[in-house]
């Protein structure tokens, strides 16, 4: 089958002529300094079908150079492990319900620091990423796709309202600029 491609594509472009998977189907939202902790920035990708993926934002402390991750744990309290989450059926019954500040996992770094990742959206927990348990480096190598933390299904009625407390791409960029200015100002 030696068909010519239909749409003309830039032959040697590193970027495709069409938007990426994330840009095609998701809207990017952000929460900076989650729980008041400086630079613990999260990113929420909301699919057009309302499903949300919680990830670390590129500016999160853990993703800065020099940080090495020792291990990741989904045991967020004595009685609760996100790994025990079981969902069944089309209506996802049995899922653990999350509020915005509900902890998803704990990241332990080799420098002794411990970071808690929060849900940032209300809804039913669908799954947590078990791939990063086995290979924590994925979190740092591919933070915006394979290194996702969790998938959350918001209530149908709340699909729009859950992003009310979050920053848009533009707002996030402004916050980043302010942060850099603040840092340079104090230095």
């Amino acid at each position: 089958m030696a068909n010519e491609p239909e749409t003309p594509v830039a032959a040697s472009a590193a970027e495709p002529a069409v938007p990426s998977l994330v840009d095609r189907y998701f809207t990017r939202w952000y929460k900076a300094d989650v729980k008041g902790k400086l630079c613990q920035d999260h990113c929420i990708l909301q699919h057009s079908n309302r499903i949300c993926v919680t990830l670390l934002s590129g500016s999160h402390v853990v993703l800065q150079s020099g940080k090495a991750i020792k291990s990741i744990s989904y045991q967020i309290s004595t009685n609760c492990s996100r790994l025990q989450n079981k969902v069944s059926g089309k209506f996802k019954r049995g899922a653990q319900f999350l509020t915005e500040l509900a902890p998803l996992c704990k990241i332990y770094c080799s420098d002794g620091e411990e970071y808690t990742i929060s849900s940032c959206v209300r809804g039913r927990l669908m799954e947590v990423n078990e791939n990063i348990l086995h290979k924590p480096s994925i979190l740092q190598e591919k933070p915006s796709t394979e290194g996702y933390i969790a998938v959350v299904l918001p209530k149908f009625e709340e699909s729009k309202s859950i992003t009310e407390g979050l920053l848009t791409q533009k707002q996030y960029e402004e916050v980043m600029v302010q942060r850099i200015n603040a840092t340079t100002a104090t230095s």
Binding site: A2, A11, S20, L21, N49, N129
Partner: protein, 532 residues
């Protein structure tokens, strides 16, 4: 030849005098051949009277001479009044009329107390003609039909009462009467009316016909005849969600089987009393069973959903595969609605090439059903001329089993695809060649995020049977794949956040995305290919 014999005289006399019509009398005398029932009502009445007149001295010994006709009628009417009183008391005692001469319809035999007119006017040509007029006006095309007649439940109660009466009378002659010795009302009705319908409409009655004519009778005047049964057998009449009334035919029959004779007689007159009016026809409806049309479709648009895409009442995209095909069929078959199903389906932005995807359309209540294969070919042409977004082939009429074939195709048969893939890293021919050698690759796919809102979360193992690569340039190549049914191709290419493993990204250690996808073949050999 009059079907009744000397043995039947007492019963016939009893029934006639208590207001039962000739045909019902035949039924209770066990007349089980069709011919007598088909004779005209007037004739039957006369014959019956003649039959009862002969050897009347066997019946009545007190009266020495038969009184003249006029007086007879007067006595008759007196007798009738007296008799009605008796039956209303429910005592079941009847005085035998001296002369069975009942000259006109203006006597107590207006409406039969057992069949409520069903075996009187409602089985005669005039009524049948009226029904047939309605059938013809309904605009259905048919070569046979099945008749579905529905009687009011209280008929069973009256039948039961009459049966008890006859049983008792026969007991006096030391004769027994079993349940099966009488002819059922519905049977007799069919014997009479089926040939009349056939003749009037010019087609045979066939129990397997898809074209159904249903006639529903009701008798509001006697609706409460059944109600006493609920007090005696309450468990037969449990209310169910769908039923309007608890007193269905089934429930009433069940209760009648259970109830003891004494209890029944206490609550219901034997013989049943004569009603004032005949049954009324509640509805005459025609309906045709669904017909099925199958074929294969090609989809050439990257902007067409399978089914109408409507959110909050707003249509997001113009038309759909199912509408482009089915709308024409709906018109030609003059059907009320359709149900479209196919052997799997593709996304809005995916084309279906090659031989196309099998589909089957159920046309509900079609008014037109007979088409030659030439006409179906023309219909196919019409559909194909009306749109360049889809094309159909092998359009044909099929049976209901069709749906099973298709679902089998969806779940068991392989499909082949062609994908245009983009890579972030620059690639050379040698970087993709290894994919050609991978056979029967097992992949695990979690429910893709893009459908997770409406599908259960699960992991599906699927097999990529074979792949073939075609290098395009440093960042693009075409991938042909043959996969197991139910494989999500897009997710196999981009990995869906690593939730499909392995995937093209992990196999090639690049970031890859899918730019275009085409279905090249759906490997189902159904419906049968037609020569065009």
């Amino acid at each position: 030849m009059f079907p009744l014999t000397v043995e039947n005289k007492h019963v016939a006399q009893l029934l006639l005098s208590t207001g039962t019509c000739p045909r019902c009398i035949f039924r209770f005398c066990g007349v089980d051949f069709h011919a007598p029932y088909k004779l005209p009502y007037e004739e039957l009445l006369n014959e019956l009277q003649k039959f009862l007149e002969t050897e009347k001295d066997e019946l009545v010994s007190e009266v020495p001479n038969p009184p003249p006709k006029k007086i007879r009628l007067q006595e008759l009417e007196d007798g009738i009044d007296g008799m009605d009183n008796l039956s209303q008391n429910g005592e079941g005692k009847v005085s035998i009329i001296e002369d069975g001469s009942i000259a006109s319809k203006n006597s107590n035999l207006n409406v039969c107390n057992v069949c409520l007119g069903i075996l009187q006017d409602f089985c005669e040509k005039e009524f049948i003609k009226k029904v047939c007029q309605k059938v013809e006006a309904s605009g259905f095309e048919f070569t046979n039909l099945v008749l579905s007649i529905s009687f009011p439940p209280q008929l069973s109660v009256r039948e039961h009462a009459a049966w008890l009466l006859v049983k008792q009378e026969m007991g006096k002659q030391s004769l027994s009467l079993g349940r099966n010795d009488t002819v059922q009302l519905k049977e007799a009705y069919k014997w009479i009316t089926h040939p009349l319908f056939s003749e009037e409409l010019g087609v045979p009655i066939d129990g397997k016909s898809l074209f159904e004519v249903s006639v529903v009778f009701a008798h509001p005047e006697t609706v409460e005849d059944c109600h006493f049964l609920r007090a005696i057998c309450p468990d037969c009449f449990k209310p169910a969600k769908n039923k309007q009334s608890v007193f269905t035919r089934m429930a009433v029959m069940k209760a009648l089987n259970k109830i003891k004779e004494e209890d029944f007689r206490k609550q219901f007159p034997c013989p049943p009393n004569s009603p004032k009016a005949v049954c009324s026809v509640v509805e005459i409806e025609c309906a045709h069973g669904a017909v099925f049309v199958a074929g294969r479709y090609n989809k050439y648009s990257r902007n067409l959903p399978q089914t109408p895409w409507i959110i909050d009442g707003e249509r997001k995209l113009d038309s759909s595969v199912e509408e482009l095909i089915s709308d024409h069929l709906l018109t030609v078959f003059k059907a009320d609605s359709f149900n479209f199903s196919s052997s799997g389906r593709e996304d809005v932005d995916v084309r279906t090439l090659g031989n196309g995807r099998p589909f089957a359309i159920e046309l509900v209540n079609p008014h037109r059903v007979h088409f030659t294969s030439q006409e179906i070919k023309e219909l196919q042409q019409k559909i194909n001329n009306s749109s360049n977004k889809i094309q159909v082939r092998d359009l044909q009429l099929v049976t209901r089993e069709a749906i099973g074939h298709m679902k089998e195709g969806e779940e068991e048969k392989t499909k082949t695809y062609s994908a245009l893939i983009w890579t972030n890293k620059a690639i050379q021919r040698k970087d993709i060649e290894f994919l050609d050698d991978i056979k029967d690759l097992k992949i695990d796919q979690k429910t893709p995020l893009r459908v997770l809102h409406r599908r259960p979360l699960a992991v599906r193992t699927r097999i990529i049977h074979s792949m073939e690569t075609h290098y395009v340039d440093e960042h693009h190549f075409r991938l042909s794949l043959k996969t197991q049914a139910g494989t999500y191709i897009k997710e196999f290419v981009h990995g869906d956040f690593g939730r499909t493993k392995p995937n093209i990204c992990s196999l090639m250690d690049v970031t890859a995305d899918i730019l275009e996808l085409d279905v090249e073949s759906v490997d189902v050999d159904w419906p049968p290919a037609l020569d065009d």
